[in-house]
Symmetry: C2
């Protein structure tokens, strides 16, 4: 079994969502597991001076909204444009890391549910109440998670993950690392498959 | 025969170069011609507030240089990183438009030669002397082209093309338009093929 693939993303990233719907299956075809790392793009952008794909540039922003939707159709993934965007995702990320400490598979299930809540069901996943509701639906104890969202060790874990992402050169979402090789963007899926098939090219 | 595809690019754009090596063949497979439109990214970026992919953000710049090369290998296109980058491309663009007025096929041949001079042979295509030499090698009259590089009507033509590109929402290179549908980036080639095959998706 080869080394796991690392997948860095922000829960508010549309292209991160598209990657989240594909990366596990692509990795599994080549005998690989994926480690998911939700991070906060606000911190990444501030530290790197990078910018979100949708910003003040009107022709580019207009294109990107169109491209999110078209890219989802191209990949066969359901997508509805969220009415709140961008939005803070520390609650979803903290919930992920706390769950991951309890049950890896449940954490993965929560991550899919949170992404789909935002990009299919147009829910406001910045809200702790919405995050708790999403988690409750998949069997998580609501009151334990509610406490965990404010726990210093969970906040510290998220900060560590952001620091680690910056240290390895993450500047946006999604960012996938395979044996030290970095792939930025959902549109690098074809190169990721090519890389896994050929062991590098 | 369906409407031609429009391909906007700057001669200093690495992803524009990758698209230039693929777009005609992809279009031809679906009975389409391509109209090439060299433009100046300096003007596009100034007007839109957009930024080049390689800028002051070190982790992103480092990634992009790596990605140019890997994307070329992925697509099977020769590539050597240019030692001068970015560089002004008005001379190459003016030469293209003057040649296009004489002989469309020769203009296309020149465009390929200019792109390969920069991204394979590491030549300084910002230099009028280098542009003239590239053109001379494919049979262009050097002294007529030399005069054309300073001709007001050729300068005006390039300005019109940049204005037209801005008017239809071009914010970077390469930018491909198929029946009103815009595709930005060499990594949209798979979507372009999907679009041409299915008549939209």
């Amino acid at each position: 079994m080869s080394e796991p693939i690392d997948f860095y993303f922000d829960f508010s990233s549309p292209y991160g969502y598209l990657m989240s719907e594909k990366i596990d299956a692509v990795a599994a075809q080549h005998g690989r597991k994926v480690r998911w790392h939700p991070v906060l793009l606000g911190i990444i952008f501030q530290a790197t001076g990078s910018r979100p794909p949708v910003d003040g540039v009107s022709s580019k922003s207009k294109y990107m909204w169109h491209d999110f939707h078209r890219s989802a159709r191209h990949l066969g993934i359901p997508y509805n444009p969220p009415s709140r965007f961008p939005l803070p995702t520390q609650n979803a990320a903290r919930a992920y890391y706390w769950l991951h400490g309890q049950d890896c598979a449940l954490a993965r299930q929560f991550a899919h549910a949170a992404y789909r809540a935002l990009f299919v069901e147009d829910q406001d996943i910045s809200s702790p109440a919405v995050v708790l509701q999403i988690a409750e639906k998949i069997g998580v104890d609501r009151s334990r998670l509610e406490a965990a969202l404010q726990a210093p060790e969970i906040k510290a874990r998220l900060k560590e993950e952001c620091d680690q992402a910056l240290a390895i050169g993450v500047f946006g979402s999604p960012h996938v690392v395979i044996d030290g090789e970095a792939f930025f963007g959902a549109d690098r899926l074809a190169q990721i498959e090519h890389w896994l098939q050929s062991g590098g090219f």
